[in-house]
Symmetry: D3
Subunit: 66 residues, 6 copies
C-alpha cells in the first residue's frame, strides 16, 4: 500500500503522460518491492515555473537563460 | 502544534465541506492527543482526477468505468 | 480515495492513539465528503521536537520555557 | 542536495517575492549547513484561504473576523 | 527537475531495493516526460506499520488479520 | 501562517543548526511576505542517504564516488 507523490513543473504534461507516470510508478513498486498495485496510490502535482527553484533561481528564469 | 494535510480529488467539495474537514481534524487531535487547537494547522489540496491514480489507473478512467 | 498525512511531535503517542487518529480521519472523510473508507489512506509522521519550530523557536526550547 | 517546500496562502505573492523566497531558502542552507546551492530544490505551493485552517477555522473566516 | 517522494511501510526494504526505486523513478521521468535525470530528486520515507492506515485500520492490525 | 518543510540528508546536522534553519526560514517569510512569525510552522525531516537519490543514484553511492 505505498504512496507516491510526483512534483513536476506545469509545462504541458498530457493526460496520457500523467497516466503513464501513474502506471509506471505502480508497476515499479510491484517489480521492486512486490507491493499490491490495488492499494498503491500515486498523485501528481504540477507546479508553476515561478514556484520552482533550483540553484537559487526560478525555473522561469532558467528557461529564459537557455 | 500538529499539522494535517489532506489530498482529495477536486470533484466539487464545497467551502462548507472543507471548513468541516478543518474543524473535524483539529478536534480529532484535541480528543485523541490533547493537542492545542490554536496552533493546529490543516491544509487541503484538491487534485485533478487525471493526476490521481490507484491500482495503476487514473481516477478519471476509474470514474468512467463505473 | 483521499490521502491524509499527519505530522505530530514525537512525544509518546501510543499505538492506540495513532490507531484512533487513523480511524477518526477516515471516518471524517466518510461523514463530510462521503468518501469510500476502503481506499482512504492515512499516514502519521512523528517529528523530533528539535526538528519542529513555531514562532521561530524549536518545540524543544518552547517546552523548556513552560 | 536539500529540498524545501513552502506552503503559503494564495493572497497575491508576486513573481519577485517568490523568487526571493527561493533565493533566501537556498542561501539559508548554504549558510547554516554548507549545502551545495546547485542541487538545492525549492518549491512553493499557494493554497486557497478556504483550504487552510488554523485553530479549527479557515483563513477565509479568520480574515473576515479581522 | 522533477521531485518524487515515496512513502512505503518499513518492512525491510533493502538498500538495493531502495536504489532500484530511485533509479526506476528517475528513468520513468526520462521515458515519459523527457526530464533531465541529473536534476531529478527522489526521496523514500519508510513509515512504521503503526503509523499507516487504510480502510480505517493500521497496517499492523491488517497484517495480523492475514 | 505559512508552513515550511525541509528535507535534508541525515549527516549530522546539530540541534543548533536545525534551530538556525527554523529561525532563518521564519524570518525569511517575515522579510519577503510580511508573514506573522507567531503562526509560522517549520519542520525538518532528516533522510537517510540510502533513501535520497539524485541523477538516479543514492547519495550513499555519490558520497563514495567523491
Amino acid at each position: 500500500m505505498p504512496y507516491v507523490h510526483f512534483r513536476i513543473t506545469n509545462e504541458g504534461a498530457t493526460k496520457e503522460q500523467k497516466a503513464a507516470l501513474i502506471k509506471g510508478a505502480t508497476q515499479l513498486l510491484v517489480d521492486v518491492l512486490g507491493k499490491n498495485p490495488a492499494t498503491t496510490v500515486v498523485t501528481i502535482e504540477e507546479v508553476d515555473t515561478d514556484n520552482w527553484g533550483i540553484g537559487g533561481e526560478t525555473v522561469t528564469v532558467l528557461r529564459q537563460g537557455k
